[in-house]
Amino acid sequence: MKSLYLLLILILTNGVFAQLDRSQRPAAAAAQKINIPASQVFTTANGITVILSENHKIPKVSIEMSLGSTPRLEGEKAGLADFAGSLLMSGTANRSKDQLDREIDFIGANLSAGSSSMYLSCLTKHLDKGLDLMTDVLYNANFPESEVERIRKQNLSGMQSTKADAGEMATNATKAVNFPGHPLGEIMTEATLQNISREDLIQYYKNNFTPQGSYLVVVGDITRAQTEAMVTRYFSAWQGGPVYQSDLGKGQFDKGNRVIFVKKPGAVQSVVYVTFPIDIRSGHKDQLALNVLNGILGGGGFGTRLMQNLREDKAFTYGCYSSLNITENGSWMSAGGNFKNAVTDSAITEILKEFAGIIEAQVTDEELSLTKNNMAGGFARSLERPQTVARFALNTIKQKLAPDYYQNYLQQLEAISKEDVLRVAQQYFTAKNCHIIVVGNEEILPKLLVFDTDGKIEKLDAFGAPIKETKSADITADQLIEAYAMAITGTTSKKALLKKVKTLKTYSRESEMSSEQIPFVLTSTDYFWNGGNEASKMEMPGMVLQKSYFDGKAGYTFSMQGGREDLKAEEIAAKQKAIGFIPELNYKANGMSYEIKGIENINGEECYVLYTNDGLAENYDFYNVQSFMKVRSTNIRKMGEETVETTTSYADYKEVDGFKFAHSFSLTVGKMTLNGVVKRIDVNPKLVLTEDF
């Protein structure tokens, strides 16, 4: 009625500035019904379900193939499926990887593969060529040995960084605790990765890449008749065994809250996830209401309860979110964020309070409408991508949804009431049977005890496996240092040791360092002089990336990004505490604070742990209990609110002129791992070290 009135005025005043109340914000019109073109479905003799979604808007076709098997337990070979998936595009019996890449580029296509799927997208007119390439990979992938090892290395580097990444550790713990004995709870470790052979990968490919139970989702500029012809021509020859189907179970439901702790030495922040499995599979009628519930609790944006409470009100964190994961194989809920050590326990209290609150009482009208609007917008915008339409078509079949489920999505969303939200909260959520996962500093442990119903905090490692308690050491710190120094120098008495150490005046060491993340080899050179000078340099051909120099009293660091910076007083003081060929021997004299922390297991080796603190950084050195050789060193340095953790592993100790040096090492900082191989060590070369080395 109002707009009619306005129109009248517009006409009367000849289109000039009608009485429009601009302070009135326009209200939304009724939600539009979504026009997702109906899909066509047919099956083939060899067991493929083909789903066709015609869309002739642009002359392109995408084909997504997904396998029908449920994931299997992989046990000692956890990670097998992912490993195989990442190797699929590495070459076929007919084409090398380079050839494959070139031919894909020539037709401007996109072809990718995963552990149980493949995806092709290209112009309709190049579809034959695209399918030729796609099916070559599907039928003839040959897992070249060199690529297997390259990807294995890439994965190993990735795992190094996991050990320093609190977020990844928390994710691993979440999976392990919510889904023990379930494929969702299996985590690839260094050991399981090493257990996987090329044969295993080929076997996985042969067993799982079967047409039985698979889906082919065809979207785009192609007709039904063309699709049938295409499927016959390219996919009718595909043969394979039966599909593997198994009920995987719904996860670990507990009585009472369990606190799960993952240690991250030196952390100033904790990662907290309050999580629990939920008994629902994708496609369930309650899924939408649960999504709305999650949106209100903490699923996105600034307006959510978790964000308002923990960030805006309490200022515990930069962000506190919740996530609802509903899959075909198992589902779980999780809420949390990063919190300073001092407020970690208060944050857990508040998160639990928010879970309790949303289970107890109805949400407000405003919360409900804001979340629904947000979801409606995101849903609508996502439909522009043809992949979204394809996914909907596939879900409709796989999850046995009503044929018009997605067509009516917005109306269904609109229909969700406060009562619905409360009902699903009460049915699926809990504030009393949660897994409270904390990755952080051990100093906060005592404050977490109160949350654990049975009063026993469980401890996991970075990959979600239970860890044994640290054993106490049977020797003192000074004894350890002496044993280590004797092992390095090949001496058997303290007197001989001190004498021999003095004979080492200088050394220089050149190493080559490489990384999966860097396409070239770096050269690193260290110089040492017993008078107190030390220097090191890292370069790539023609360019110095990093340099450091210290003469016992002063020095500098240089980096390509930051240029030269002189060492500050506190940095000099710290360096002065760890001087000498075997700095440990001088700890006492130089005022380093150090103590032995017990025995821990490092990659299957029992190691003494020596803790030091030079005033700037904390350091944990690990020495093998039998050989006393140093196998690892973890350095944790505070940078404001964050900590930077650097881990160096040492191996392959070899003697050079009577002194043992590690000849291979790896260095992990954040997500980056560098692997080093020593090329040359000179003991007592003539060396005059100046700051312009």
Binding site: L7, Q19, R22, A28, K57, P59, K60, N373, L383
Partner: protein, 495 residues
């Protein structure tokens, strides 16, 4: 909110060639309706119901080339300011209103235009129209907003230009290629100009360029054309025509005294609630006379002056590796040779199998990284070729190698295989670029404003496919003028 040319540079650094605003095509014709409102606003409507969303965009035909040389960076700064609010929208509410209603929004500024858009669920179309009409009619900018956005823009410059290795190359090349045209300076402008700006600068910029006759409203998506037209009449049709819009703006912004002294009439003579419907004869007369005064915008002329000779300069920057940047004067983006020029650049440097990559980067290892592209603008274009050298390679060696590639492509037709690969690539890119309604709205607006022909969205691919190998040879010889170009040597600053 960004500068187009900066985004573009970034994309190029990633090794992709961005077709951005110049390419567009669809197998299925993009239909649209276009008309002008009495106040001069050009409207383009594209209706398609595939997805229940709508893109609402307004293109203002003002970019950095329209700036006062002593107030550079103003167009881009204004883009930031115009998110601050309006007479009816509070600070910070623009994004809040859009996001809580399930939409997204952004804007960008180039040498030639400033572009604002929202993508909303289609049942929120009216909200989008209201938001954009508020921006067009009576945006409100207070001191706090100016201060805030000034820091934001400075931060943007630090992040994207100053702290970016080689980040100044665009500015440096434009400065030399366009000696006598306002393309001389970059859209980000000079920060001291922003600091020096006075209130009247803001007021004048808004009054001159932010008027309906200088704007194109382009809407694409799930709309009902008749309903949309009604809303447009309501929200945009009610924006006063000619200079009356600025009379109205003065009425709401000036004090009683200032207004009275400027217009020799008291504010009280006007209808306080509905200015344009003021009943008093004097007020009516004044409004009518301003309705009849057009908004005139002086625009720079097309730049066809060749570069005089070879301009060589050395620039010391915070970089580790030396680099070479070359600039050639190219025709404006509307020139028919543009298509062949884009082919040329694809052959030279797009993808790992391109000539410069294969020969100079991979085989001879004279460059770590190299690229070339054609950057067409309204009044002229620029061709840029660049390479970053390993430390031990002298820049002149690299220059010789690049020149040899230029000489080769000027002397011989490209191979059939190269030709076909590039055609395939354009076809694929252009087809894909048509998949979003936000892209359709922007391309319709751009093609209307620059080419006077929104329908070019339907003919673009045919323009590319008309290009022959002979055309590529010809444009190489016409435009890659070795005796008239800019050559910049980028060297690391002495520490």
């Amino acid at each position: 909110m960004s500068l187009i040319y900066l985004t573009m540079k970034k994309t190029i650094f990633c090794g992709l060639f961005l077709l951005a605003s110049t390419s567009f095509w669809a197998q299925q014709k993009i239909t649209y309706e276009a008309y002008d409102l009495p106040n001069g606003l050009h409207v383009i409507l594209h209706e398609e119901h595939a997805t229940p969303i709508v893109a609402v965009s307004v293109l203002y035909h003002v970019g950095s080339k329209n700036e006062n040389p002593n107030r550079t960076g103003f167009a881009h700064f204004f883009e930031h300011l115009l998110f601050e609010g309006s007479a009816n929208i509070g600070r910070g509410e623009y994004s809040e209103l859009v996001e809580k209603n399930g939409g997204t929004l952004n804007a960008n500024t180039s040498q030639d235009r400033t572009y604002y858009y929202e993508v909303l669920p289609s049942n929120q179309l009216e909200l989008g129209l209201w938001l954009e009409s508020e921006r067009m009619l009576h945006a409100k900018v207070d001191i706090k907003g100016i201060e805030t956005q000034r820091s934001v823009v400075k931060e943007e410059k630090r992040q994207r230009v100053d702290n970016q290795p080689y980040g100044s190359f665009f500015t440096e090349i434009f400065k030399r290629v366009f000696a006598a045209h306002p393309y001389n300076w970059a859209p980000i402008g000079r920060m001291e100009h922003l600091d020096a700006a006075q209130e009247e600068d803001y007021v004048n910029f808004y009054k001159t360029f932010y008027v309906p006759s200088n704007a194109t409203l382009s809407i694409a998506g799930d709309i009902n054309i008749e309903q949309t037209k009604k809303w447009i009449a309501q929200y945009f049709g009610s924006i006063p025509k000619g200079q009356a819009i600025n009379l109205y703006r003065d009425f709401i912004n000036l004090s009683d005294e200032a207004f009275a002294s400027k217009y020799k009439m008291q504010k009280s003579a006007f209808d306080q609630k509905n200015f344009m419907a003021s009943a008093s004869p004097a007020a009516k007369n004044l409004i009518t006379s301003y309705l009849n005064q057009p908004c005139v915008i002086e625009r720079p002329l097309k730049d066809k002056q060749p570069i005089t000779g070879v301009i060589k300069d050395t620039i010391y920057d915070n970089i580790q590796l030396p680099a070479l940047f070359m600039g050639y004067k190219m025709p404006s983006q509307t020139h028919p040779d543009t298509y062949a020029l884009e082919f040329l650049n694809e052959v030279l440097s797009s993808g790992s199998s391109s000539r410069i990559n294969k020969e100079i980067v991979e085989k001879r290892q004279l460059a770590q990284y190299a690229f070339s592209f054609n950057y067409g603008l309204e009044d002229a274009g620029i061709g840029i070729m660049a390479a970053i050298a390993p430390k031990e390679v002298a820049l002149d060696t690299l220059l010789n190698a690049l020149d040899a590639q230029i000489a080769a492509i000027k002397s011989e037709l490209i191979s059939e295989e190269e030709f076909q690969k590039v055609r395939n690539k354009f076809e694929n890119d252009i087809a894909s670029s048509n998949s979003s309604i936000a892209g359709i709205a922007e391309n319709l607006a751009d093609n209307h404003v620059y080419y006077g022909d929104a329908n070019r969205v339907n003919t673009l691919l045919s323009n590319y496919l008309k290009v022959t190998r002979e055309d590529i040879l010809r444009v190489a010889n016409t435009y890659l003028t070795q005796d008239a170009r800019v050559i910049l040597y980028y060297l690391p600053k002495e520490k």
